[in-house]
């Protein structure tokens, strides 16, 4: 008997249409990569063809002009510290909100939910003053703190929803065995939270790595800046030799794109676990 899941002729047509659509979607990315190897004349005359003459020097120059190793490291420090910080603080708080629904806890939880809707950008002026008063201008800690405590609302929201679906029996038996709250959390609950932790870790990584707003605001010297600031600094510098900017764009997206290509299964299933359960 033919089941609902067998491959039909209509699926073949569907498949062909989707492949055409996917090819269309890849065109901008293909164009971005192929243009990095071309002279501007070649790119204007034959935008979609392979280069008449492959040129690789563009990458060498972009690498040097952007001070790439330095800004890459800055990006990495900011992303890793922000993601680790937000995951630790958010899962601790979410655990408390899920398992102790006291009036105080519920009030704090609703207060924290404001952060899911109102973007912190609306408070840019006082935030900037706060950061300068704390002496954190041009210090990566400024971006890290702002990342952690503006992402925390959404993180707590997703993690708490997930904890609500985790049965309490294991924790209860651990507590009967004399295990304290902290011990129960780190030994019993946290391992069960790994699927949702993976989800928010990936979402947070994408957001903080690609963040341009906070670095633009708080990091002013080139020594402390991130990759995207270097890309931004160079836009419009090459009006005649316009293809020289393309390797910089590629260097701007390459780290996350590589991360995605190598970890794609993990990333896609990770993103969906938390969102759909939540």
């Amino acid at each position: 008997m033919k089941t609902i899941d067998s491959y039909r002729r209509s699926d073949l047509i569907l498949e062909i249409l989707l492949i055409i659509l996917a090819l269309g979607m890849v065109v901008p990315i293909y164009y971005l990569f192929i243009t990095t190897f071309k002279s501007s004349i070649d790119a204007t005359l034959h935008p979609m063809w392979l280069p008449v003459e492959w040129k690789f020097l563009g990458y060498v120059e972009a690498w040097k002009a952007m001070n790439y190793p330095r800004v890459f490291l800055n990006n990495l420090v900011i992303t890793v510290s922000s993601v680790a910080g937000v995951l630790l603080f958010a899962s601790l708080a979410a655990y408390s909100f899920a398992r102790r629904q006291t009036r105080l806890n519920n009030f704090i939880f609703y207060l924290i939910l404001i952060g899911v809707t109102v973007p912190f950008q609306v408070a840019t002026i006082p935030l900037f003053r706060l950061i300068s008063n704390l002496g954190l201008i041009d210090n990566p800690a400024a971006v890290i703190f702002v990342n952690i405590f503006t992402l925390i609302s959404f993180n707590i929201f997703l993690i708490k929803n997930f904890i609500n679906t985790v049965p309490m029996e294991l924790e209860e038996s651990a507590s009967i065995d004399g295990c304290g709250v902290t011990g129960t959390f780190f030994r019993i609950t946290l391992p069960l939270l790994l699927p949702v932790i993976a989800t928010v870790a990936i979402l947070n990584t994408l957001t903080t790595w690609n963040d341009f707003f906070s670095p633009l605001l708080f990091l002013q010297s080139r020594e402390k800046g991130v990759i995207l600031q270097e890309v931004y600094r160079n836009i419009g510098k090459f009006s005649v030799d316009w293809t020289a900017f393309f390797p910089m764009m590629v260097l701007g997206i390459a780290p996350l794109l590589a991360f995605y290509v190598f970890m794609q299964r993990f990333i896609i299933s990770g993103i969906t676990t938390g969102a759909v359960k939540g």
């Binding site: 067998s6 102790r100 006082p126 994408l206 896609i268």
Partner: protein, 297 residues
Amino acid sequence: MKTTGWNLKRNVTFQLFVLPALIGYLIFYIYPLVQTFIYSFTNYSLYHLDMEWIGIDNYTRLFKDDSVIIGIKNTVIYALLITLLQNGLAIPLAIALNRPLKSRNGLRLVFFAPAVLSPLVVGFLWSYLMSSTDYGLINQALRAIGLNDVNWLGNPKLALYSILLTQVWQWTGYAMVIYLANLQGISKDYYEAASIDGAKAWTVFRQITLPLLLPSISFNTVMGMIGGLKVFDVIFAMTGGGPGHSTETIVMTLINKGITESQFGYGSSFAVVFSLLIMIVAFIQLKVLKKWEERLF
């Protein structure tokens, strides 16, 4: 006696768990937000560093300021359209990819890929693609098939929609992946039963797929709206708000008034209005979706 001490210790520990998140959140988020609210009733600016109370003057001025009204209008149009288009395209795409296609994993990889790119770089890239100079790829393609050039980013009537197009390209795959996961969690039995009953494809969609997709529809539309209302990077990269004010959105206006022009008090009143707007929109959306959920089940 021992149990009370034990319970007290447990309760204190639970409360301590909230503390790091709460303290940081109060300092770096709530405190600036409250200050914004306070500033909004003052004439605080670079010329009035000793701020004075001016009541609701900023607010009355706000609703007469054309650039502010344009900013709100652009943002609302943008957020509504991005949410509609992104979800309207992502749902059929996810249903198609839920078929047992041979290239399913590869297609999913490609459709999601733009979501990992930085919106700033995506903005720069598309401004090359949409450029009106002789290297603009899209206009070259239009010329090749005998059509006229389109001034994608230079025409004030069109620029916002051109930007919208790039963001549909970037985010539809993301929404699709979430729908796809939701679809894969729906039991096949529903569909088997419907097919035995001889139900039409549209009926199956309306009666089975759509109601069961509601959790991800709520997630995607609320996130799409909020993301749309605070759009910044891509517009900053593509037009900087121009030509004129035609693509200026709320966050951009906010930065212009509050930081570039240093009108801290006035900019803050705009920030307050925007915060209320975004909270109302999210609230209404959740209510409507909840109603919808009740009606469909």
